[in-house]
Symmetry: C2
Subunit: 205 residues, 2 copies
DNA sequence: GTCTATAACTCGATAGAC
DNA sequence: GTCTATCGAGTTATAGAC
């Protein structure tokens, strides 16, 4: 009995891990149930035993992936820390997380663009991240004359762009700038500090 | 005879336009020959009459799309203009072009991530954009003490990120910041000036 | 729970009439 | 050059034995 339960959980986890790997790399359309079965070391029939069909399996993976990728914004921006600390921790933690899952941004953004409304709903389940606190802090800084007036939307876009895009544009950037995988990762490590510094330099009076 | 030629050209152009629309939106894997035929107002057989197979048709579209999207870097960065002008024209022209083809960045980056080596080859055909002039100008500015010391790779990444990413992350950004399509486009229009300003503020001493 | 075998279906591609 | 009809490969999904 114990053995049975262990096997169940083990197989299901193996499937989820395999499915994540394959879906994230190839996308919903490009992924094959056979690939996932192979990766998990089982056969196709067993996939359908655990998850009725491809779509159900995909949704599980997507929800988990996007749920890890997107709402992180929430946690950081809503935290009880100062304006500068928020920017620093956002850049540091985001880049860190993506370095461990380099294909995640492309995967999530791509599927999101194909089915915007449906996917957004699944991710946020009605509770969008509340930016008002962060924006409020920004406006205070502006009022106090410590930073230049800048529209919050642009600052947020700039920050997210500089953290996420390098991973999406990696093949192009690597080719254009002629850098190796190791050099790329080194550069990303640098960016955990370089991006917030760039932002502060841009906005500080 | 005139009529025949007109019909040929007309159909081929209709197919290419339809294929671009479908491929760019759904990607190589997600696109269906039937979708393209429908979009072009013809049937599948005729697609294969004009383009032997799906791959040939895709390559034509991809080459044209990426060829428009990527080498623009080249032209601007190699131009005979000053350091600041280059940054301004890059941001302005790039954002402008992408506003007219909002799905292009996602499409190109996505296919590029699936087949990096092969696709890079197709796009650049051996002549990568030469960044040395731009980098040289940047180093002069640093030496002259007009801008802060910053690694060229990071500056280039920042610039491209802030120009391109908003279009890739559009569904997420729109949702998170609660903005409409119109507001999004207005914001992008603003960015043609706001991004270079942000960059100058960040690097200028 | 897990497997083999196969049904059911999707989709790219071709044959052949007009 | 354009169409209808259909084939055949590749995939998802199910049946049924163990």
């Amino acid at each position: 009995m114990v053995k049975k339960k262990e096997t169940d959980a083990g197989t299901e986890q193996k499937i989820l891990a395999a499915a994540k790997k394959v879906f994230v790399k190839k996308g919903m359309d490009g992924a094959r149930m056979q690939d996932i079965a192979d990766e998990a070391g089982i056969n196709k029939a067993l996939l359908h035993y655990y998850f009725r069909n491809k779509e159900k399996l995909f949704e599980q993976i997507f929800a988990e992936s996007a749920g890890r990728f997107i709402p992180k914004v929430k946690a950081i921006l809503i935290a009880d820390t100062g304006f500068y600390e928020k920017i620093e921790s956002f850049c540091g933690e985001y880049i860190d997380m993506v370095m461990q899952n380099p294909y995640l941004p492309m995967f999530v953004m791509n599927e999101l663009q194909k089915q915007p409304a449906a996917m957004i709903k699944k991710i946020f389940k009605g509770s969008l991240p509340d930016l008002s606190k962060f924006i409020g802090q920004m406006q205070e800084e502006i009022k106090a004359g410590r930073i230049k007036p800048i529209h919050p939307a642009h600052l947020i876009m700039n920050m997210m762009s500089m953290c996420i895009f390098p991973f999406i544009g990696r093949p192009m950037l690597s080719a254009v700038m002629g850098i190796s995988d190791t050099q790329f990762m080194t550069a990303m490590e640098e960016r955990k500090k370089a991006v917030p510094k760039f932002i502060f330099d841009a906005i500080r009076k």
